[in-house]
Amino acid sequence: MRDIFTEIWESIRRNKMRTCLTGFAVSWGIFMLIVLLGAGNGLMNAFMVGGEDIATNTMQIGGGRTSKPYDGLKEGRRIRLDDRDVELTGGELFSDHVDQVISTVSTSVTVNYGKKHFSGLMEGNFPARQEMEKIEVRYGRFINEKDIRDSRKVVVLSENQVENLLGGGTRDTGARFATLSFGSESGRKTDVASLLGEYVRIGTFSYRVVGITKSDRMSDDNLFFAPYTTVKTIYGKGQEIDDITFTFHGLDSEAENEAFEEQYRAAVNLRHRAAPDDNRAIWIWNRFTQNLQMNKGRNILSTALWIIGLFTLLGGIVGVSNIMLITVKERTHEFGIRKAIGASPWSIMKLILAESVTITAFFGYVGMLLGMIACLVLDKTVGQSTMSVMDEQIAMLVDPGVDLGVALGATVVLIVAGTLAGIFPARRASRVRPIEALRAE
C-alpha cells in the first residue's frame, strides 16, 4: 500500500500544475453538487417550516362559494359553516376515521395596552388546538378547559404582539418590516414575559394575558387566541363558525384520503344545499396529502439536483480521464521497462487506477469541504433573511446544508468516478508491449 502511494506521489509531484488544474474541475463538480443539494435542502426546509410543526393527520374545513347551481339556487352563493357541520363531522357518519373535532370563530379587533395598541385577529379556540397545530407557548399557558367552561376573558398573544404593546411603538402588524431583515429573533429588546398576568383592553372588555406563544418567521403575526366560548358569546354570530379542524386516522394513502374527502364534501355540501361535487363550496386543507405531495416534490427536487450535480462532476471526470491518458502516453517507455523486469499487467493497471482515484478523491474532498463551508456561509447570510411575500414573512432558506448520508454518497460517487476515469487509461497502460515501448526511445 505504501509503495503504491509512493509511486502515485512521485507521479503527481512531477506534474503538479497539470494535476491541480485537472483536480480543480473535480473539486468544482463536487462543490456544485454539495451547494446545490445544500441550497435545495434549505429551500425545502423553508417550505416545510410550519408544515412540520403541525400534526399531519388533520384536516381543516372552511366555507367558500358555490361554483355551480344546485337545488334551484344560483352559483356564487356564500357558504358559512355552522355548529351543525361540527356535529355532522363528529357524528356517526364519519366516526370510522374522525377523532377529534374542534371549531373556531374569529373576529378582527384592536388590542390596547396603555397607549399602545395593535390590530389583529382574535380566534376563539379550544385547548386541543395547541396539540393539533403544535403551538409553542413560551411563557404561561394556552387556553384550558376551565377558560372554555367559564367563558373567561383571557388571551394568548404572540411574542411579537407583546413586544408591540410593551414598547415597539404603535405598529400595525399588517404593515410588515423591511422586505429583507437580517438577524435572529432571539435579540428581543423588551422583557416579553412581563406582560403575563396583565390586562389588555379589547373592545369594551379587559382580557388577562395568560400565555405568550413563540413568534417565528413563518407564523401569522396577526393572530392571537382566546377561549372559543368567550369569543362566541361576545361577538356572537349565532351558529356560524369560521372553520372546523379535525384529526383523523386510518387514511394511509392518497387514494383513501381522496375518497374520504369526496364523501365528506358531499355530506357537508348537501347540508348547505350545494352540489355534492362542488369543490368550491367548502375548502378542505388536508395536511396529510399536502405532506405527501411535499415529500414527493422534495424527492423530485433532490433527484434533479443530484442529476445536475453529477453532470457537472462529469466534466471533471472527463478531465481526469484525459490527463491520465496523457500520463500513460508519457510513461509508455517506463511501463515498458517495468513490464520487461516483471511487472504484471494488473500491477500497471493498479498504478493508474490508484492514481486516478487518489486525484479524484483528494480534490473531490477539497470540493466537498468548500461546498460545506459555502453552505454554512449561506446559512449565516441568506439563511437568516426573510422575504415578504403577500404579507407573509417567508424565510428563503432554512438550515441549508447536507447530511452525512449525502457526504457518504458523494464519497462513493468520487471513488466510482475516479475508477471510471482511470479505467480506460489504465487498460491502455496495462497493454503496453515492452518491445515497442523500449524501442520507442
Partner: protein
C-alpha cells in the same frame, strides 16, 4: 542444457509477411558466455525478444531449464521474465524519477519482497558494483558507465538464470565499453552467471567465449572463442 531452441520460426505480418526467424536451433548451457552477432535486419533482435520472453514465436519450441516457454499469459510471462531473466539494455532503461537504489529494487518489488529486505539487497548489489555512494542519485546525475552498472545490478538482483544483454556497450565510449565487458566476463567467470550478449560489434563479441553468427534469420557459424582471437582488431580491445 539451460536454453534450448528447436526449429523456432517467427513471421511478422505487417502488411507483407516477413519471415524473420527461419528455424532457429540453438542450445546454451549453464555458465556459458555467448554472443549473438549479426547485422541489423539479421533477426538477432527478434531472437533476443523471444529469448527474453518479450515476444512470441510461431512454431518450434523454446525451453528454459526444461520449462517450455510457449503461449504464456501476460501475467505468467511477466513472472518468468522477473524470475528467470535479467535484462541489460543499450540505453540502460533506468526509470528516470527513481534513484539508483530504487531502480535496482524494482524487480524485487514485483516479486513482493518487503521494503526493508529489498533495500538492503539492492544496496548490497550496488556495493558490489562499486556504486554504493551513488545509491541516492538519479540516473541523470550519473555517467553512462555508472548507469549501465546500475542496470547490471538491477539485472542481477533477482539471481536470474540468464542475463540478456542487448548491445550493452552501444551507448558507451570505448573505455567504458571495455569496463562493462570486463565486468560481464568477470561475473561469468567468478559467479558462473549465464550471459547472452546480442551485438553487431565484433570487438564486443570477441570478449565472449562463444560467438553465434546469425544472418537472414538462420544461424550460421558457431565460433568457439575461448581464446578471444576472433577480433580482427586484436586481442582485448573494443574497436569503435
Amino acid at each position: 542444457m539451460l536454453i534450448e531452441l528447436k526449429d523456432v520460426n517467427k513471421t511478422y505480418n505487417n502488411g507483407q509477411p516477413l519471415h524473420v526467424l527461419k528455424g532457429i536451433d540453438l542450445s546454451i548451457d549453464r555458465g556459458e558466455f555467448v554472443s549473438i552477432m549479426g547485422a541489423s535486419g539479421s533477426g538477432k533482435s527478434t531472437l533476443l525478444n523471444i529469448l527474453g520472453i518479450l515476444d512470441n514465436y510461431d512454431t518450434g519450441e523454446y525451453y528454459i531449464d526444461g520449462r517450455l516457454i510457449k503461449g504464456l499469459s501476460e501475467r505468467q510471462a511477466a513472472d518468468y521474465r522477473n524470475r528467470l531473466i535479467g535484462f541489460i539494455f543499450q540505453s540502460f532503461n533506468l526509470i528516470g524519477f527513481k534513484t539508483a537504489v530504487e531502480n535496482v529494487e524494482l524487480p524485487l518489488f514485483y516479486q513482493g519482497v518487503g521494503r526493508a529486505k529489498r533495500h538492503q539487497m539492492a544496496m548490497e548489489y550496488l556495493d558490489r558494483l562499486g556504486l554504493a555512494a551513488w545509491a541516492k542519485h538519479y540516473p541523470n546525475e550519473m555517467s553512462g558507465g555508472q548507469k549501465q552498472r546500475v542496470a547490471i545490478a538491477r539485472a542481477l538482483i533477482t539471481q536470474p538464470k540468464i542475463i540478456l544483454a542487448d548491445e550493452p556497450t552501444g551507448a558507451l565510449d570505448s573505455k567504458t565499453s571495455e569496463e562493462v565487458m570486463q565486468l560481464l566476463s568477470q561475473l561469468n567467470r567468478e559467479e558462473g552467471v549465464t550471459i547472452i550478449v546480442v551485438t553487431h560489434e565484433s570487438g564486443v563479441a570477441n570478449c565472449t567465449d562463444k560467438i553465434v553468427h546469425i544472418k537472414d534469420g538462420v544461424i550460421g557459424e558457431i565460433e568457439d572463442n575461448r581464446e578471444h582471437r576472433a577480433s580482427q582488431f586484436g586481442v582485448n580491445t573494443i574497436m569503435k
